[in-house]
């Protein structure tokens, strides 16, 4: 039953607002109908600081997406990011009554709720409970315990939580435009849907989405989410560093970063200088490429090392057969894969959304990984009438 369904993923990012309209059919790659991409104002470090301005940008993005896809947008899946997002593991357990002796759907529901009985930081709310694995009577690596014989069902979840206030801000921003938010989704979780394939998830992989305001990361071990989180440092910080370090206005610093910047400080990419032509309000200057790259690489290295520390704390870096995958706007910096390779000690690849169909320009842009991922997430969590069980299962997987 290939019922066509339109899903819209909306990411209110720091550098851009992306609205992606996709056609979702079960068991088929999602088809992108249209993309609305506008520069974002009023968002810093992944959080909305100016509601009015941000709302205007969101409206523009949604309008562009509507025009591009010829669809009226009523509901969206909203991507959430920000330094306030955290995650920790939690185990839930439920006892199976002896007379029944086997695991039922209700047990699975219950174990998830049990896992949620944890103390969240003040003012935080649940975003996801991401299933890692089930245990039935101590037997681990159980993917689907339905029908298992046993007396005790346990499950490891990764609880993803975030600041209630900030999430509400984002939701309100969208609602003011007359659009409903179906569900807030953590950006990294969403992006991982389209950036990592099953093999990589099984082998163990880390995906880092370095965007304008935040760097979101998610680590898979043995096919399950081992750790995820968000660091409130992104391309904006790089631009700010350049602006302060080279005494340039932000716009020029941004241009410099995008057009000429990289993270390599030795060799040919770091040679020479960039001449900025004078224009209104700016007298022009010459910038040593090596200096520019030093500033950038300093910041990028620090950010990556911070992420590495967070992952190590969760013991998520042990089995990384799939290596590290970089996406997001910052992944376009020349040489960043080398730098990340140095930091993490494993091969690093630059990547973007896969397993989608549609205009290549839409999904090959690493900035859109999260927005497209939202659609994939929606597909994965949508309850399907004909495949209800599996749909529910996936739903449980993501803690719906």
């Amino acid at each position: 039953m290939a019922k066509e369904q339109i899903v819209v993923g909306l990411e209110i990012g720091t550098s851009k607002v992306a609205a992606v309209v996709g056609d979702v059919r079960p068991d088929q790659p999602i088809h992108i109908l249209g993309v609305g991409l506008t520069p974002s104002r009023g968002v810093r470090k992944g959080e909305i600081v100016d509601l009015e301005t941000a709302a205007r940008c969101v409206r523009d993005a949604l309008a562009d997406a509507e025009v591009a896809s010829d669809v009226d947008i009523r509901t969206v899946y909203l991507g959430i990011a920000g330094g306030h997002i955290g995650s920790f593991p939690s185990r839930g357990s439920v006892l199976i009554p002896e007379d029944r002796g086997e695991v039922t759907y209700e047990d699975i529901q219950q174990v998830q709720e049990d896992a949620r009985k944890v103390q969240l930081p003040h003012d935080h709310c649940f975003i996801h409970s991401v299933l890692q694995q089930y245990y039935v009577d101590g037997q681990d690596e159980v993917l689907n315990p339905l029908g298992f014989q046993g007396s005790k069902l346990e499950a490891d979840f990764q609880i993803v939580h975030g600041s209630q206030k900030r999430i509400n801000n984002s939701i309100r921003c969208v609602q003011e435009l007359g659009v409903q938010v179906t569900q807030p989704v953590f950006n990294a979780v969403a992006a991982a849907q389209v950036v990592l394939n099953a093999d990589q998830k099984n082998a163990g992989a880390v995906m880092i989405d370095m965007g304008g305001g935040t760097s979101d990361y998610i680590a898979y071990n043995n096919g399950a989410v081992k750790a995820c989180g968000s660091v409130a440092i992104g391309g904006d910080h790089i631009t700010n560093d350049i602006s302060i370090g080279l005494r340039l206005p932000m716009a020029r610093a941004e241009w410099l970063k995008v057009q000429e910047g990289g993270v390599l400080t030795v060799g040919e990419p770091a040679a020479g200088r960039v001449v900025l032509k004078p224009e209104a309000g700016f007298a022009g200057c010459a910038v040593e490429r090596k200096l520019l790259n030093t500033i950038i690489s300093c910041r990028v290295r620090e950010t990556l090392e911070l992420i590495k520390r967070e992952l190590e704390a969760e013991k998520a870096l042990r089995y990384l057969g799939g290596g590290v995958l970089l996406t997001g706007g910052c992944s376009l910096l020349e040489g960043i894969d080398e730098l990340a390779g140095e930091v993490f000690g494993v091969p690093v690849r630059l990547t973007h959304a896969h397993a989608v169909s549609g205009p290549a320009s839409a999904f090959e842009n690493p900035q859109l990984s999260a927005a497209i991922g939202l659609i994939k997430y929606a597909q994965a969590t949508q309850p399907e009438s004909s495949k209800k069980q599996i749909g529910k299962f996936f739903g449980r997987l993501f803690g719906r």
């Binding site: 470090k45 330094g83 700010n240 001449v275 004078p278 010459a286 910038v287 040593e288 910041r299």
Partner: protein, 555 residues
């Protein structure tokens, strides 16, 4: 912006005559004639009649016709001198009315080495400025010629305002080794011609900086210094930098090593009316990065309509002659010498008012030592097109302190002449110009009051770049002090938005501010992140730039 009107009536008397003396000199003069240098009358003088008649230049003077019977001096300077004295009346008659006399001479032989100093002296007495462009013989020509050349050079230095030396040995590098000898000499001639064009342009009608001659002379030269001359011209994109690169790669400008021992550097930039100030700034920035921080840089610029679309850069670097024993102390003593000397040397009367006025000017400008160039973008600057090698003997003349609108120029100079302070002596103003000077002084005065103080534009050369000259002169010390003053000015004003802060200055300032202002959760996080919560990790505010928190030494 205050519009400055140039008073042209004064310049009507300005008259340049170029005289090529001797064989080499006539060849060089012929080069000029062929190139049709505007604004100057070209003459040649020789003892050798045949050589003279072979000249392209029409205006010819035979020297010592009775003495040598038109056969030349045979390489004897004494003969040359006598010949010149015999024909002095004729020479002076032809040079009459010139305000600037440029002598082209090849030293080492008879006519050049013997006659030129006499003619220079006479021209000086006539009341003209005298600039001499001399070539020194190849070393293979033998010691005798070298000695005669040196003697002639010394004699010339005593009389001329400006003596520019081109060593033939060095100039051999100018010519392509595969080219024929005629081509080689021709390229030498064209260099001389370029140099002459420089002087004529610099002192030409449309420029007001007549005193530039003395200024270059005194300030670029050290006692018996040699100089590096580089010339580059380029058009199109990034022409300023390309021209600078070409000037640097000019064979006469030698290697970086030689440049490293330069103590002074004169930069002339000229372009068409489309020459942009930002290009000039960029160029100067790049230039000062290439040279030692102890080098004193003097800057001249002008608009030459014929150069529309291109930019030409001329460099002239003064290098103390290493052959001179104790060159440094010699410099010091020579400067002292200069003060004493010029007092006695002056054959002209100096009007007291002019002297007093310029003295005032000197002290006034001292205060404004660090005026930026940026504010003067609209004014035409003065160009010296080719740089002149100016191994000048400063004993000839103290520099004429900022008396003209060149004063406006001098303000812009972030490295003002030290001589202004220590040598309040007058140089030799040509009487007709005094009035003009005073007029310009008052104009310049009013200009100065309007200027806002902005950071000096020229970057300090990289601080840790230690060049090969460890010894510092009194001059360099004072200059360093002055620079520090300028720096503190700059730092005090660093909150005004600096449009173009040169890199090294920025880095330096960044380092300084890091030490002072490094506070966690400080307001200095960068306005970008003001409305958000600081991201504190391990006690550090990550919104503060990483390179600042890690105290990275930014070069």
């Amino acid at each position: 912006m205050i519009e400055l009107t140039r008073t042209h009536d004064v310049n009507s008397a300005w008259n340049v005559k170029v005289l090529g003396i001797g064989g080499a000199g006539s060849h060089a003069a012929d080069r000029l004639t062929k190139d049709a240098v505007a604004g100057a009358e070209i003459l040649v003088a020789n003892t050798d009649f045949r050589a003279l008649s072979a000249c392209v230049t029409q205006e010819r003077i035979v020297l010592g016709q009775r003495l040598t019977r038109g056969l030349g001096t045979g390489g004897d300077p004494d003969l040359g001198r006598s010949a010149a004295q015999e024909s002095m009346g004729q020479v002076m008659a032809r040079l009459q009315g010139a305000s600037l006399v440029i002598l082209l001479v090849g030293l080492g032989g008879g006519t050049g080495s013997g006659a030129a100093p006499c003619i220079a002296e006479a021209a000086r007495q006539m009341g003209a400025h005298v600039a001499v462009f001399a070539t020194l013989p190849f070393s293979f020509e033998g010691r005798r010629r070298s000695e005669q050349a040196r003697d002639g050079l010394d004699a010339l230095r005593r009389h001329a305002n400006l003596v520019v030396c081109f060593e033939n040995d060095r100039m051999a590098a100018v010519a392509d080794p595969a080219s024929g000898i005629e081509d080689a000499f021709e390229s030498v001639d064209s260099l001389l011609a370029q140099a002459v064009r420089a002087v004529t342009t610099m002192t030409a009608q449309k420029n007001v900086m007549h005193s530039g001659l003395d200024e270059i002379a005194a300030t670029v030269a050290e006692h018996r210094a040699t100089a590096l001359f580089g010339y580059g011209v380029a058009a199109g994109e990034e022409r300023a930098r390309a021209a600078l690169a070409r000037a640097f790669s000019n064979p006469l400008f030698e290697s970086e090593g030689a440049l490293a021992s330069a103590t002074r550097l004169w930069v002339f930039v000229s372009g068409g009316s489309d020459l942009r100030w930002s290009e000039v700034q960029l160029l100067m920035q790049e230039l000062t990065e290439r040279i030692s921080s102890e080098v004193r840089v003097f800057f001249g610029a002008a608009v030459d309509p014929e150069l529309a679309g291109s930019v030409s850069v001329t460099l002239l670097a003064g290098i103390p002659d290493s052959a001179d024993a104790g060159a440094r102390s010699a410099v010091r003593s020579s400067r002292v010498e200069a003060i004493a000397y010029s007092n006695t040397m002056e054959p002209f009367a100096i009007s007291e008012t002019a002297a007093a006025a310029s003295l005032q000017q000197v002290s006034h400008d001292r205060e404004h030592a660090a005026e930026p160039l940026g504010t003067h973008a609209e004014h035409e600057q003065h160009v010296e097109d080719p740089a002149l090698e100016v191994p000048l003997n400063p004993s000839e003349h103290a520099p004429e302190p900022l008396a003209s609108l060149g004063a406006e120029f001098r303000e812009m100079d972030p490295f003002p002449l030290e001589e202004q302070v220590s040598a309040p002596q007058r140089s030799v103003p040509i009487p007709p110009y005094e009035a003009a000077k005073e007029r310009r002084e008052s104009a310049a005065q009013s200009v100065k009051r309007v200027e806002p103080t902005v950071e000096p534009v020229f970057p300090e050369p990289i601080a840790d770049k230690t060049e090969i000259n460890p010894s510092r002169t009194v001059a360099a010390d004072k200059e360093a002090d002055r620079r520090e003053v300028a720096e503190t000015h700059a730092e005090a004003e660093s909150h005004t938005p600096p449009e173009v802060a040169p890199l090294s200055a920025v880095a330096k300032r960044a380092k300084d501010t890091v030490q002072e202002q490094m506070r966690f959760e400080s307001p200095n996080r960068g306005g970008r992140f003001e409305k958000t919560d600081p991201t504190i990790v391990d006690g550090e505010d990550l919104d503060v730039p990483t390179f600042m928190r890690q105290h990275l030494p930014l070069e």
